[in-house]
Symmetry: C2
Subunit: 410 residues, 2 copies
């Protein structure tokens, strides 16, 4: 769909869905009946392939294969083979990605490894950054003796330019969906003598990332959002090949060793990015992720990103027609795969939508987030969800005590 | 079985199995036909309950429940609820254990947190220690500026006494199965002003651990060995309650925050040991572990430990009758749940045993390891396995080129 050609009716949406080059992707997903799932930016849904693969990993590989499956089922290679599959989705070489640990742990490892490369021992993070990124920067500064620098929103690059330190930065902001220009940021980093550790959590699987071309050197990201890897699926690590060989992970576990089963007392890091593996990989979760990534096979990331922009434009247009203000950029080129819309009683509104089978989420104080995963969200889904939202606002259906109660997880 | 009353025939073994207070446990395990599995110290087998639970977590909770399952299926509490279940097996209070990350990552977090408590900033590890423990100590010393001290086997306590540093130590040695006296070691630690971070990987689920009574303060361990949590299942962290409140994890991820979903920019650690959680927990693996731990319900750890000692005595007696030398202590009270036996061609012998459906493992240069998990290994299993070993040594059935080839995983 061309930017700006907005559907004006449900039948416009049906026509767009028929013409959608991604239309074939949705059948891969095991979506529950009666639900429009607009929370794929928090937890992606299961594919039929991932569900079957989990059972195979549990029954055929673990229960029947037992210890032999490290070889016979390829468990030992999963961190690299799944990483290689994921590499296409971020635009880097297959051998420069592994899957390991969580984003929190990987941010720590990468930022620690970046410190000796940077001109100054300063860890920079923006106050608008996803909280775990800020906490990790704090913890790293404390243990390493580096200086911690927390700056205002969008001031990270300026701080990097001044200091030549290590900036931890999301490409897509978790709350607003704002995108940073990666190539421009990397030019600033190089000119300053500093290093950026990218958090790709809200970007991977919904943007047409070309990290190698953009000069990105270090990145990690989450696999359970737009990559649909399953709840708490392990994260990934990217380190540019020529750089990786010069890096030391602070957590030198046996899976990052050149020959883990030699049980040498001395540590020799594995080649390239594999040195950022630490402990034994979680095979069940890795297997689910491995199968989940197949959902992207045969589809162009450029089509994925274009559809995300169009779906986002539709959310914003309909929300504005209801008198709501978009927090996310109206310029689709500056926006990730979710759209946040402001409502003072957003928490209650979201609860009421969920009760009707429409599942977005909410981030305090006032952001209703609509996740627009192009592989399984249709234009009609967005249209219908917005119809429900309009009806709800008109009837104040959200304004009951039940929908105001604060849940543990929002 | 009383120590020393060794079965002298297969029918003696059958009698012992009939009288075994743990006899009812074996039916919980989904063991493949035709296999005697003596590798539970490396990867425990699946229980029927764990297999069913994985499928429930994948299909009912992930695919159908989607994001709602963080609340409705209790995902958010799994690190603590599974930790509480595990606490009984190491003899500590339910609220002092969480499940998170890998042993490698947890050793790093705990040893880093212990440094400010210790009299000297020295990280001590023995050269006979499991390699990842040595690597982690190296990495921590490098990033924190602490002194790294690698000492000879069994010299860790003496070094702790001299320095008052932080000692990373396994209770059960992965190769020899030697046990360290925990209570005595903790007395040395306290007198020295130092701290021990225990690695319980080869101890949990097979020893009658009473860590709180023994004065243990910090520990981590693996859950996929004698706890049968599944391949690469997440590890656990123990921190004594009164101490935990004074500790800082170097990797301050959002799941270790007091209110993870408040998305505060400032870090406030969660109460107690929960501050050692970092990233989003791997729900599929955690769910398998949760169900797997139920296999211990209704069985006394004292019976588990006693049977492991008796099975080990039987392995050693039969191995010695074949002219083989035990690497593990002959005194069962000084031994964990596996027994290592020396053979110059041990790798080929183990491969030949596996080809006959008997699965021990091998650690270079010459250790054949037999894991004796009391919940599913019977006396007759050990008897039959030793019969096969005796036959093989007599006929030199192991001495073929196929069995000498070095596998990627040994």
């Amino acid at each position: 769909m061309t930017q700006g050609r907005l559907p004006r009716s449900r039948s416009d949406c049906e026509a767009l869905d028929r013409a959608d080059p991604l239309a074939g992707a949705r059948a891969q997903f095991a979506l529950p009946a009666g639900v429009i799932y607009l929370d794929g930016h928090s937890l992606g849904p299961a594919t039929h392939g991932a569900l079957a693969r989990v059972e195979q990993a549990a029954r055929a590989e673990w229960a029947d294969g037992l210890i032999r499956s490290w070889n016979t089922a390829g468990w030992i290679d999963l961190p690299r083979s799944v990483g290689a599959k994921l590499a296409r989705l971020i635009g880097v070489a297959a051998e420069d990605v592994i899957v390991a640990d969580s984003v929190s742990v990987n941010l720590f490892k990468l930022a620690a490894a970046a410190l000796p490369l940077a001109k100054s021992r300063t860890v920079i993070v923006e106050a608008s950054e996803f909280p775990t990124d800020q906490y990790v920067a704090d913890g790293l500064a404390r243990i390493s003796g580096a200086e911690m620098m927390r700056v205002e929103a969008d001031q990270g690059l300026a701080a990097l330019e001044r200091t030549g330190g290590v900036l931890i930065r999301s490409i897509v902001n978790y709350r607003t969906s704002d995108i940073l220009d990666v190539a421009a940021a990397e030019r600033v980093a190089r000119a300053s003598g500093g290093v950026i550790v990218w958090d790709l959590s809200h970007a991977t699987g919904v943007l047409d990332l070309k990290l190698a071309m953009d000069g990105t050197r270090l990145a990690t990201g989450c696999t359970y959002k737009f990559l649909n890897g399953g709840p708490g699926a392990p994260a990934f690590v990217y380190a540019a090949g020529e750089l990786a060989a010069r890096l030391q992970s602070p957590i030198s576990g046996w899976f990052g060793h050149a020959d883990p089963f030699a049980f040498d007392a001395g540590y020799a890091p594995r080649e390239g990015v594999s040195r950022f593996a630490a402990g034994t990989p979680g095979v069940l979760s890795l297997s689910a992720l491995d199968a989940a990534l197949d959902a992207f096979d045969g589809f162009a990331l450029s089509d994925v990103a274009a559809k995300a922009r169009s779906l986002g434009d539709l959310v914003i247009a309909r929300a504005e027609a209801m008198g709501l203000e978009a927090i996310s950029p109206k310029d689709a080129g500056r926006r990730g795969g979710h759209v946040s819309v402001r409502h003072a009683q957003g928490y209650a509104v979201v609860q009421a939508l969920i009760a009707r089978g429409i599942i977005p989420d909410f981030r305090a104080p006032d952001a209703m987030r609509f996740g627009l995963a192009p592989l399984y969200i249709r234009y009609v889904d967005v249209w219908d969800a917005m119809d429900q939202l309009a009806d709800m606002l008109e009837t104040r259906a959200w304004d009951t005590p039940a929908f105001h109660a604060r849940a543990a997880v929002t």
